[in-house]
């Protein structure tokens, strides 16, 4: 078996919360509670779940913006955690991020050119190389070279997101981390950005990790899908397996609650949820909002079981 491009092994991220000045009564919030994931070259892996489920923290850990409490992250089979020989510069070429809010993700005091050229210059490009690269990347994301002289506020939300994508691609990273890349955008603009991302993935053979709660977008873009629930992965598999045969009750609930215009057209085709077999006993799922799993507790000794080839579901033992 080939070595995956990115591999996350038993990742834990914990935050101390509450407690007094002297450190009494501090509890550990287990934001990410033993996550294992892998991403193959050229693949789009989506992590779905609701706010607070740990999907963003996982992404930040991969980006090096959040130090993991334990666990390992490997790129091409080599660890990138705690490796002193790996500089910020090297790390910048591994993964780059596209942020959710196109209004907060661009520095209002910098022109597009400034925000794109600074990283290039930092990584040793000459002035003319940088200019060529910027013109090239702007064209790739569907903007014009003359847009480089403008400030962020002169662009619409969709154009800003294109600039955000250009900035993420400027150093030619191996992985693009998409943090809710379209959820702040209008429907029509959303479609353009999704099309753009899929085109770029094909042209530049990029690998995506996408964080999203929008299952419509996830189904459209992903190769593999991981469903996260309170710091743990409860179901992971190929996109068609997840959407056609969701097995974990939480996944089913998630899919069933998406407001989908098609449900009024086909009220009796209650999508995949109807066809799925009842879950085996002992699933790690707490159905009511008032009765959520304890995020302070250590990971329960539960396993992902393989219900079909490359389709894993968590079952509490």
């Amino acid at each position: 078996m080939t070595v995956p491009l990115l591999e996350i092994r038993d990742l834990h991220v914990q935050f101390p919360v509450g407690g007094s000045l002297l450190g009494h009564n501090k509890r550990l919030l287990r934001a990410v509670n033993g996550v294992n994931l892998s991403l193959a070259q050229g693949e789009c892996l989506s992590i779905v779940g609701e706010s607070g489920c740990g999907k963003s923290t996982t992404a930040l850990a991969v980006m090096g913006l959040q130090a993991p409490t334990s666990g390992d992250i490997l790129v091409d089979g080599k660890t990138i955690i705690g490796d002193a020989t790996l500089s910020r510069m090297d790390r910048a070429r591994i993964a780059q991020m596209v942020f959710q809010d196109p209004y907060a993700s661009l520095n209002p005091r910098q022109t597009v050119h400034q925000s794109l050229s600074a990283p290039l210059r930092l990584h040793g490009a000459s002035k003319s190389e940088a200019n060529d690269r910027i013109a090239d990347i702007l064209k790739k994301v569907g903007l014009l070279p003359e847009h480089a002289a403008r400030y962020a506020h002169e662009f619409s939300g969709g154009q800003r997101q294109r600039i955000g994508i250009a900035r993420a691609l400027i150093l030619d990273p191996r992985i693009l981390m998409l943090d809710e890349p379209v959820s702040a955008l209008d429907v029509s603009v959303r479609a353009q950005i999704i099309n753009l991302l899929l085109d770029l993935q094909e042209d530049l053979s990029l690998s995506f990790v996408m964080i999203s709660h929008d299952l419509g977008v996830v189904e459209h873009m992903s190769d593999r899908v991981a469903v996260m629930y309170f710091g743990q992965i409860v179901e992971v598999g190929r996109w068609d397996a997840i959407f056609a045969n969701p097995t974990h009750p939480y996944t089913r609930k998630l899919i069933a609650t998406i407001p989908d215009p098609d449900t009024i057209l086909h009220p009796h085709r209650n999508r995949a949820t109807a066809a799925a077999p009842p879950p085996p006993a002992g699933f790690y799922f707490h159905p009511e909002t008032t009765d959520r799993p304890d995020v302070y507790a250590a990971a329960t000794p539960s396993d992902l079981i393989e219900v079909a080839p490359d389709h894993f579901v968590r079952c509490a033992t």
């Binding site: 609701e50 706010s51 977008v217 190769d223 989908d260 215009p261 009024i264 057209l265």
Partner: protein, 311 residues
């Protein structure tokens, strides 16, 4: 159902006053809502859907004004009411819930007090009685342990619970019309589902009409009997929800539906179709608006007739 609309907008224009007349942002919007009916306004940001809603309750921000047209609520033109009469109507007959419940609730008062205020203000109850009613109101929006929760402050509740409190406040006086402006956009999907179901159930039980404003076609489709699609300040299509989603007529509506990545539309591993690019579709926005725009109709009252008549 009577055939007198609860709310009727006739050629509504909203604009910014200029030296020579108005710069209109909402142009010539006409629709009506029957008692107990759920009507959806869908559109992208800047389409004018929220301004339309704010003009209904006369809460437009400073330079904006209704420049032309009528807003008839139970046959009375809201434009002609005094500020005092309008205040009496807001909260009492027309209630509103907003996107972000945290900013709409007062952080310094318990949620129970904020609900009770509605009864004191509009029903003239004493605080003790209003407080008891507040517990009932919280129970009706399915907040667990309402006797304890009335004493909670907004920041002690989750987003979904806060939105339930907003709904309890809005429905406290049994209004005739509930305006819900993106009520679930800030919520997670499973919570959104619960809140939408709650709004649907409560309004159906009380016969409250709903004006639901959203950018999310899925939300509108599942909540509303009729939908108006707004684009660039105009109402470009107004139809029965089922008809609209089954066979959209206006090119913009078609584009909007095509631009949406919908569940179950991807077939096979390689079957990723490109989503419709509306900007590519719309070359000349004004021509598009003129070509297909629904003409204002004041005489035909039945929405079904209206939709067909315009085809």
């Amino acid at each position: 159902m009577t055939d007198t609309p609860l709310l009727e907008l006739k050629n509504l224009h909203v604009g910014i006053p200029k030296r020579d007349g108005y710069l209109d942002i909402v142009k010539d919007v006409s629709f009506s809502i029957m008692p107990g009916e759920a009507f959806g306004l869908v559109g992208e940001s800047g389409s004018g859907k929220s301004l339309t809603a704010l003009s209904l309750i006369r809460l437009l921000k400073k330079p904006l004004k209704v420049s032309k047209g009528q807003i008839l609520f139970k046959g009375r033109d809201l434009q002609t009411l005094s500020d005092r009469e309008m205040r009496g109507l807001r909260g009492e007959r027309i209630a509103m819930i907003f996107q972000e419940p945290m900013t709409a609730l007062n952080p310094l008062k318990t949620v129970g007090r904020q609900i009770a205020e509605m009864f004191v203000l509009h029903r003239g109850m004493g605080w003790a009685e209003a407080g008891r009613k507040a517990v009932d109101a919280l129970a009706s929006v399915k907040v667990p342990a309402p006797e304890e929760r009335v004493l909670a402050y907004p920041h002690q509740m989750s987003g979904g619970m806060r939105q339930r409190v907003m709904i309890a406040i809005a429905l406290a006086c049994d209004p005739d019309l509930l305006i819900a402006d993106e009520p679930t956009t800030a919520l997670d999907v499973t919570v959104q589902d619960e809140v939408l179901k709650l709004i649907g159930e409560l309004c159906a039980a009380r016969g409250t009409a709903v004006l639901m404003i959203s950018h999310d076609l899925g939300v509108i489709a599942n909540m509303c009997q009729r939908v108006g699609v707004m684009y660039s300040g105009r109402l470009v299509e107004e139809r029965d929800t089922y008809d609209l989603f089954a066979a959209p007529r206006h090119p913009y509506t078609k584009g909007l539906l095509g631009a949406l990545p919908r569940l179950g539309t991807r077939h096979g591993a390689a079957g990723r179709q490109r989503l419709v690019d509306i900007d590519g579709l719309i070359k000349d926005r004004e021509a598009l608006l003129q070509e297909f725009c629904f003409q204002p109709r004041n005489t035909i009252r039945d929405p079904r007739l209206r939709a067909d008549g315009a085809a």
